[in-house]
């Protein structure tokens, strides 16, 4: 009987040992925690780039998609060069900052709008450091301490205190008056995904055919996009940003709801 027991123990321990050794033999990647980033007023471009690279390869999780060629555009070695060509009206750093904080504003052709708003996970300083790193990829670093507000009291610094505060509503609010819902939709880059008057992206249901929807439904879809998924768009569920509730004022939101519900 002892022989049987020993054999059983050998099989059990041997199996466990094989799995443990195999799992220890493959590449080991730890998921980093975003570290506190405090930039001085005299921060240099090199320091910004180094900090940005750490975020890009670590806590930012950027490499999960960028560089794979299928999910998101490759940015290494080229981002600093192509950034000025994407939206000619924006200089490179402004475009890159917008890409990180309002990723739906411009989606590179051939890719899905799956990029998350990085303000949910990174501080403003971390975002700017990442912009500096991206500029360094084939271009010139133009981010300065002045852009970031580095060293200023009350600057947006990840305190590591347990939570990441969402961006203040006023900081990212839309300026267009509530009396101009079309302007609001354009300012919020909604037409990147929704068709309005025959123009716009095919990612979400067309605004042109929303006239038969209830106002409550439209309002809920803006405030909580996950609440309902329009038929035919199931595969793209989850791509609508969840931040509009923080960014539109109540009057702006109601103006948009009214406008969409009144469409023919």
């Amino acid at each position: 009987m002892w022989r049987t027991n020993l054999k059983v123990a050998f099989v059990v321990l041997g199996t466990l040992a094989v799995y443990t050794v195999v799992a220890n033999a493959i590449p080991q990647i730890e998921s980093d925690v975003p570290t506190e980033l405090t930039l001085r007023a005299d921060v240099t471009a090199e320091e910004l780039v180094a900090a940005g690279e750490q975020i890009y390869t670590g806590a930012g999780g950027c490499m999960v998609c960028h560089g794979l060629g299928t999910r998101a555009p490759d940015v290494l070695r080229v981002a600093g060069r192509v950034c000025a060509e994407r939206k000619p009206e924006l200089e490179c750093k402004a475009y890159l900052y917008e890409s990180l904080t309002d990723p739906g504003a411009y989606v590179v052709e051939g890719f899905q709008p799956i990029m998350p708003d990085m303000r949910r996970t990174l501080s403003n300083q971390q975002i700017w450091a990442t912009v500096a790193f991206l500029e360094s990829q084939g271009g010139e670093v133009t981010v300065t301490a002045e852009d970031i507000g580095a060293g200023e009291e009350g600057g947006t610094v990840d305190s590591g205190g347990g939570t990441v505060a969402p961006a203040a509503a006023s900081e990212f609010a839309f300026a267009t008056e509530a009396s101009d819902p079309v302007g609001l939709l354009q300012e919020a880059a909604c037409t990147a995904c929704h068709v309005l008057d025959g123009a716009g992206g095919p990612i979400g249901p067309a605004f042109d055919s929303m006239g038969d929807l209830e106002r409550d439904y439209i309002r809920r879809s803006i405030l909580n996009p996950a609440a309902d998924t329009a038929r035919g768009y199931e595969a793209l569920a989850g791509t609508m940003p969840v931040t509009f509730g923080d960014q539109f004022s109540a009057a702006q939101l109601e103006a948009i709801v009214q406008f969409l519900a009144d469409r023919p």
Binding site: T20, V33, G162
Partner: protein, 602 residues
């Protein structure tokens, strides 16, 4: 087995369960609701040597393993009892009873480890624990109450086996088994609500949301709740079957009589059948869960499949490959004890080939996080050759063909000693072959076509592949049932005439299932990364970084060792119940008769 002997068996120990649970529930009640808002409450405690996270990890994992066992076994115990009742075969009733006996002490272990987990959470993560109790407090009480009801239902079910063994009373007894499953399922659903909230909190809950304002139902009914519920229900059956298989294998190896060996051979076969049968369905529940994770948050989904966890899926593929190979090996070996099975032997090598190629393709890495230097060296993050094999089109094709092959193994095993008598048997078999061939063709077509379409369309192809396989399996088994109606036998299965090596395959299956459960638990929990509640409550403890696969694997192995060690003790205790020693008047201790062999009845 006599009634009084059974009473001696579990009395005392299992009744620990409700008492322990009550203690833990009282602890929940003591958690100060306002503590969440108080800065004075320390956020984290410490635990010697392994740290706070290690302590939580072990207590949660071992608790979950026992919980999966005690939830999975009743599901098939009650089905086996029903087969015994409606089929009139007492052997099944005895088997169901034996399954249930394994549950008694395991219930106590589940409750004890649940209490350890509760104490560990409240002392090592007090602020976060307070947060959870503020939101989920009422459901925690319900959970504790239902666990007690569930425990007493189990006692009634087990101890009433002899009393309610005939006619309508037996049906009532079966009803108790069904009730036991209902309570267990509700208990699991509640606990799943807590953990899935941490993973996928409602969109309107942010870092600034006061927990008092979070609606309980909205927190429970979050994006991944139902997918996890379904996945765990099936996985528990797989796990329970595998552990029962291990138990039977040990008893087979230790058996001293042919009858005993025959009984445990049969029990091991049933355990393996349940485990592999449910495993075949599990990937479909996994797809559903993965899809919901992606829909909840693309970043989380991508982190899971292509981020720092990408290598985890290679390990998972390796493990599932072992499961398929060991499970099929056990079946093929088992065909040696079935007269007439030799006519199917030539097919085995081809099935083995499909399985091996399938494992190789499924284990091929594709999307991996790599350093800049590695990306430049490869010319991209995909390897120029392996990258092509490693895409989901190839992997889905491989796994679906492996499922079909395993199904075919079961089919051949089932038909091994049977000779159909219906006149259309040959045509029926041909139709079965065509159905399986068509299914494989559909799987391969979409596998190849997937290379020529965009990712968003390709994802949808997996549904067609899965449906083709499921439809073929249902269709083929229905035809098989009809063909085998009134079939003559080429000879009875010679239970017990199995080589010992086949039993070690059952051990490998059990260990692998247990380890896989730990690995998937790490995946599910790890994709939250440095968040207690994803993007709501950040983990600011010194151990907030999610470990790499190596350290995680070591921890998983420790958990599996603890669990299996305790299971061995439980089985040993179960053995003591069967073989109580009698002290004679002259002081000599002699063993009683060995456990009743199969078919001896009660």
């Amino acid at each position: 087995m006599s009634g009084p002997k059974c009473m001696r068996g579990g009395a005392g120990a299992p009744r620990v369960a409700p008492i322990v649970l009550l203690g833990a529930a009282a602890f929940v009640a003591l958690a100060p609701e306002a503590a969440w808002a108080q800065e004075a409450v320390r956020p984290y405690g410490d635990f010697p040597v392994i740290g706070a996270r290690g302590a939580i990890w072990i207590s949660a994992q071992v608790h979950l393993m026992f919980a999966a066992f005690v939830l999975g076994v009743p599901m098939f115990a009650v089905v086996v009892e029903a087969i015994g009742i409606f089929g009139g075969d007492k052997r099944y009733d005895k088997l169901a009873r034996e399954f249930t006996r394994l549950l008694l002490i395991a219930y106590s272990a589940t409750a004890i480890w649940g209490a350890i987990l509760t104490f560990a959470l409240s002392s090592l993560y007090p602020r976060f624990w307070s947060y959870l109790t503020v939101i989920f407090g009422p459901s925690m009480w319900l959970y504790a109450g239902l666990f007690i009801v569930e425990s007493f239902t189990l006692y009634l079910y087990y101890y009433g086996w002899d009393r309610w063994s005939e006619d309508r009373a037996k049906l009532g007894h079966l009803g108790l088994g069904v009730l036991l499953n209902i309570w267990g399922t509700i208990v699991m659903f509640i606990a799943n609500g807590w953990l899935t909230y941490m993973m996928s909190p409602p969109a309107d809950v942010t870092a600034d949301t006061a927990p008092e304002t979070v609606q309980l139902w909205s927190a429970l009914f979050n994006a991944t709740w139902m997918p996890i519920n379904i996945h765990r229900l099936i996985a528990n059956v797989v796990f329970g079957g595998a552990i029962v298989g291990m138990y039977a294998a040990y008893r087979f190896l230790a058996a001293s009589t042919d009858e005993e060996r025959a009984h445990y051979d049969w029990m091991g076969y049933v355990g393996n059948f349940i485990a592999i049968g449910a495993l075949i369905v599990l990937p479909f529940a996994g797809y559903y869960l993965g899809r919901e994770i992606y829909e909840f948050n693309q970043t989380m989904g991508i982190t899971m499949m292509g981020g720092f966890m990408s290598w985890l899926w290679i390990i998972q593929a390796f493990l599932i490959g072992v499961l398929f190979l060991a499970g099929n090996y056990y079946l093929w070996t088992g065909m040696g004890r079935i007269p007439g099975a030799e006519r199917f032997t030539p097919y085995v090598k081809w099935m083995l080939l499909v399985l091996v190629v399938g494992v190789i393709v499924w284990s091929t890495p594709h999307t991996m996080i790599a350093s800049r230097e590695e990306i430049v060296a490869m010319g991209g993050t995909h390897h120029p050759f392996l990258g092509v094999l490693g895409v989901m089109s190839a992997k889905n094709t491989a796994v679906n063909l492996m499922i079909l092959t395993t199904f075919l193994s079961f089919l051949l095993y089932r038909r091994a000693n049977k000779e159909p008598v219906v006149p259309w048997a040959k045509t029926g078999t041909l139709v079965q072959g065509i159905a399986l061939g068509l299914s494989a063709a559909v799987v391969m077509f979409y596998g190849v076509y997937g290379y020529f379409v965009t990712a968003i369309i390709r994802i949808g192809f997996s549904v067609y592949q899965v449906l083709a396989v499921l439809a073929a399996m249902v269709f083929v088994i229905l035809i098989d049932i009809a063909i085998m109606r009134g079939a003559t036998s080429r000879g009875a299965i010679q239970w017990g005439r199995m080589p010992a090596r086949s039993q070690y395959a059952l051990f490998i299956l059990g260990v692998t299932f247990t380890w896989l459960m730990g690995l998937m638990g790490f995946a599910r929990s790890g994709i939250r990364q440095h968040w207690h509640v994803y993007e709501v409550i950040r983990d600011t403890s010194p151990q907030a970084a999610t470990p790499a696969l190596g350290p995680a694997a070591t921890m998983i192995s420790v958990c599996v060792l603890i669990f299996l060690g305790l299971v061995a003790v439980i089985f040993w205790l179960g053995g003591l119940v069967e073989k109580p020693a009698h002290r004679r008047a002259d002081g000599l201790v002699v063993p009683s008769a060995a456990a009743e062999p199969a078919g001896s009845g009660s």
